[in-house]
Symmetry: none
Subunit: 269 residues, 2 copies
């Protein structure tokens, strides 16, 4: 399924700044995309700023194709999305969506052939005519008062969402998430650990008398809220064992019958 | 609910390139964030590259605070996430998540006070010690072979996901009653408590040698994830005091030089 990532083309229409070419190549590489097409660019991939910003994406930059117009960039594509910060006008609501909404559709289309995300020039974005040539419109939700996203940032977020869609599809196919869900220790294991800890904290003189129960309750609440992993439950068992050992040392030597009043008064705040 | 966006601080630790300061300010502005803190920066917000890249984010750039260390950047935060492209090592699996998974949690924490996303310097990212001071770790899933994301691109994706979580919450919340936020102890208070606890756990023989640091990390993570209340922080101070008292009892009587091998072997699972 890796090839679906390489089937997603990034098209930059008349890009002005070389730094954006490099930053685009780098972030495409970060998310596993590789097909970059420049339509009548003002900036050159050979520019020092482009190469400096590309870092690990230099191969993507060097493989970028330059074409004279949008039609040439999209000629073999089965589906394409235009990007725009403006969502009113040309398009009907049905074809507009956020990056998170649209990328799963673009990915599905990629099963059938090359697809493209099209970005306009830095100063003003795509023309209405250019938007009209694409199959849909994608928008990155942002603060309406803030001005538009930087070109390479917009590319980053679209590539990120495309990879997310790809990753989800991959996992759905396998039935597993890419990063496995966090394991949480089952209640019975937590309960045994809390009993172990209660015993140890009592022996070491921390829990005693009336306030002992409410202190232990507070500790259970705190740790329970964090939903401890099995590993963390083991770590707390280890702590309990060490405290029991320490309390035996104290008792063996006849010390420690009366914990400091001072430490006790403040222990429950 | 707009204020939840402004409660999310972006912390750049020792940033090297002025262009990244400007691009960070711009994209924060795009997504409605405004609180930028720079820890011992090499680059200056007055640099031409910073100002050129900031465009509509100049106000964010100009309001950026410079602090000497990470503790100062996080002192009033109730929750913080470190970013890293590496997800093995220091951290246990329990505290790692993708930006999409972690940002809703960070947003929920913002109900209780300022929260932060912490980004490391361009060459190598955050140190293990810096990662360990945060409450959790966030990762942007990318091609493992591609090298790391550009700093400002990583900021963009985290801010984008934070705004997405905010936007979803806003939609979900319409027509639902507000639940009062739980009080959470600020970072500086938690930090003092963890140092107290580290000292006590060392004295009582639980933390020692190579594994001491990673055990303490695990405990910080576990408690930090629960977002302890000021009351719970006091309770843990009380525990530290009691353990220090117990260790003095042991030492006064000349016992306790060598903890049981048995308790030690199992303590980290």
């Amino acid at each position: 399924m890796t090839d679906l990532l390489t089937r997603c083309r990034v098209v930059l229409v008349r890009p002005h700044y070389a730094g954006n070419l490099g930053a685009t190549a780098r972030v495409m590489r970060n998310f596993g995309l590789s097909d970059l097409v420049l339509v009548a660019p003002y900036a050159s991939t050979g520019d020092l700023d482009a190469r400096r910003m590309a870092t690990h994406g230099l191969a993507v930059l060097d493989a970028a194709r330059v074409v004279p117009d949008l039609g040439a960039a999209l000629s073999d594509c089965v589906f394409s999305l235009a990007t725009s910060s403006l969502t009113a006008g040309v398009f009907r609501s049905g074809t507009i969506g956020t990056a998170a909404e649209q990328m799963p559709e673009l990915l599905a289309a990629a099963e059938s052939g090359p697809v493209a995300i099209v970005f306009g020039p830095e100063p003003h974005g795509l023309s209405n005519e250019e938007i009209g040539r694409c199959h849909g419109l994608v928008n990155v939700p942002s603060d309406p008062a803030s001005g538009s996203l930087n070109l390479a940032q917009a590319v980053a977020i679209c590539c990120y969402e495309f990879r997310k869609a790809w990753s989800k599809r991959l996992n759905d196919a396998r039935g597993k998430p890419e990063i496995p869900a966090r394991a949480v220790a089952p209640f019975a294991d937590q309960d045994r650990m809390f009993e172990h800890l209660r015993h140890a904290l009592t022996e070491v003189g921390y829990l005693f008398g009336e306030k002992g129960d409410s202190l232990m309750h507070a500790i259970r609440q705190l740790v329970g809220r964090a939903m401890p992993t099995p590993q963390e439950v083991k770590i707390l068992h280890g702590l309990a064992r060490q405290l029991l050992w320490a309390s035996r040392q104290m008792k063996r030597d006849g010390a420690g019958d009366a914990p400091e009043a001072d430490s006790r008064d403040k222990s429950d705040g």
